[in-house]
Symmetry: none
Subunit: 234 residues, 4 copies
């Protein structure tokens, strides 16, 4: 039913077919509800073969998570220009992120929705991925602060909080953009492209960060100059 039956396929290829089937099935059903039967059928092979190659359901899920994690990280990393200014790096990273999640919705669903919700072994794997991305963002924010000549006003905890907020906002937008995309016509030129979504994120986040680095803080009733402008605004 799934793939066309082609016998005698080399192992490496078969494994990828199985992983593809697994990604789709895990995304659609969730880890527990996905059955090895369904995955095997979708991959066009018998169940014992899945076990021969991937050992167990748990191993299979882990392999899936790792493959999708690696692909996402690679996409983001390859999108940024190493030497550029921090804001450009952030923007191009976001663009890469949105583009990849839009192109691999099932992989993203597995990472974002399924892997976190099914107990320790998997959650850790995805937490590591997220931590890596958050660290990357935190680094960029630090670099940006330095570029802007801002010295030490942003406490580490504050930076970490901002990075988490930024990543959460990006995740939320990724989902929103995908849903919007699904609704429109497939070739809809109106749907928010990765570039547009990245721009929205930058508009939302960067300018506020900029001001934060300038020492301004929000307070009920208006802005306050938290610390005298020891931090040059760009």
């Amino acid at each position: 039913m799934g793939a066309v039956k082609s016998k005698r396929v080399p192992r490496a290829v078969r494994e990828q077919q199985m992983l593809d089937a697994a990604v789709l099935t895990f995304a659609r059903r969730g880890y527990r509800a996905a059955s090895m039967d369904e995955i095997a059928e979708l991959a066009g092979v018998s169940k014992p073969l899945v076990y021969l190659y991937l050992n167990s359901k748990e191993d299979l899920f882990n392999t899936v998570i790792r493959r999708e994690s690696a692909a996402l990280v690679a996409a983001v990393r390859s999108a940024v220009e190493p030497g550029a200014a921090a804001d450009r790096q952030l923007c191009s990273g976001l663009k890469g992120f949105f583009a990849h999640t839009a192109e691999h919705p099932y992989g993203w669903a597995v990472l974002h929705q399924q892997a976190r919700t099914h107990g320790e072994p998997f959650a850790r794997e995805v937490a590591a991925l997220r931590a890596e991305i958050v660290a990357f963002v935190t680094e960029l924010l630090g670099a940006a602060a330095k570029e802007a000549g801002c010295v030490g006003e942003l406490a580490e905890r504050e930076v970490a909080g901002l990075a988490h907020a930024l990543v959460g906002a990006a995740e939320s937008l990724a989902e929103w953009a995908n849903v919007r995309t699904d609704e429109g016509t497939s070739g809809d030129p109106e749907h928010p492209s990765a570039k547009d979504t990245a721009a929205t994120m930058m508009n939302f986040a960067w300018m506020g960060l900029n001001q934060l680095m300038g020492g301004e803080r929000w307070a009920p009733g208006g802005l306050v100059d938290h610390e005298s402008g020891s931090c040059a605004r760009r």
Copy 2:
């Protein structure tokens, strides 16, 4: 094992005990992996009683979702002062949100992580909750734009995108704050309080929004004045 065994309890009370046990179990294991046996044991009753009162696993999960949704919405709604300025409303709403999610981490986990990942019947319920919150935020942003004298510069889609980003950021921070809390000593006075987290969010988001309303946009290389300053900055 769970609660102290107290025999012959009126139905209304037992039902709440069961729902409490269910929240905890669903949060820990996920919908599929949670067994009715475990829930019943945790509630200190036999399984048939759970079925007698809550009908089925699906009904139980739905009831849990609705109870937790209602509690969250009530917490947020009761936190905002209806007549106040938009930024104050947003801030107090966030504070209510962070406080509630911190106090009810399992309920929040069920809503945020589990309900969305387990098929149509539940996902819709939570999608409705999220839509309600996003709508609330969108409304606040619109009001803020009006207050700021900003007329029409922010396209509807842009506002919606911002609202989604904001909600996503808040969700991410809620999780982050909770984890931080869990790790520290239980009574840790250092852990980010709801007030602190709300302040972080406001700092991250509000100032950027403010500038957006002022017509400024981020662009590679620096800020640009997208439209001549037709929108007074506060």
Copy 3:
């Protein structure tokens, strides 16, 4: 839901209400599928009361069987005139049988369909009922043979077989007549009345019996005179 709730009813009455509910439920669902919950609800009482009065599901079913058996036997017995000719007795007995089964379809369903199909304890009870009726019929056939001056030509086994055939035919017609009745309008004057059905049975059976007693037998190719006409034909 079932009966109107009337509290404080004397035991004898309540028991009959329960038995009525049980007859209906057992007929509709079968012994195993009928739940004590449904019976109790239909009787308008709580389950413990059913247990208090009728002890157990098995006892309840037995009580039902005995009540319905007794009613059927009484109906048949009271329909025949003790002193009449054998054929008249048989005819009026059949009339009583068809009339009673038509008036008490649920009771008849329990006896005919349910009680026989659910293991030893109940099957025996109904077998006894059937044996009683078969014995009654056998007796009538014997009397008829004697009346007809037929002496000993009908072997006992043959008579017993005929009685069984006759009873089976009557049961089958009872069902058929009831179904026919259900289909027609409730007051349908066309549907086969008990009298008509009894007549059909008599036409079907009696005349053949008559000839049997006359010594004739069926054989491929035509009738044969099994024994020289030592048995006067009426």
Copy 4:
């Protein structure tokens, strides 16, 4: 415990073993009381295999009913000689029926006792079987009437009633013969053979029918000539 354990059996064979076990179990316990565990054990396999091959208890029961129905119909059909006289056809059909039910008592019990008593899905299946047989008999009676030169005196309803009576009588005799058989020694040469039972039926029914076709009817007090002998008696 049931069959001798023989591992690795092809599916088609296993399925028949399972169906055999199911027939026996359903006949002994009834549909509801029969457990899949018992059936599986009797078939010498594990429960999951039963589900793998037969899908569900309901499907299993349906498959059983259809297999046994088909076998019974085939036995009866193959017993009659198509071109023969109506009475010979009826007699040989009955012989086939009694022989088959005697050889397959459990199959017959499932059809006759269990399937009719367990709700719509199954009852319909068996009702169809019975209707087929009744139709066959009705046809034979009609043919016999024509052969006998009887024109139209037997109303359709009357014929249908007679056919039902005949089938009911046959069913009753089948059960009676089986019980008798069970009680006697297994190889008892005295127990009523299918041939004998068929003869009893023919004696019981055919001669009466013959007279009915001759226009005679039973009436209290004696026979009457319902219509002047327009119908030649054989």
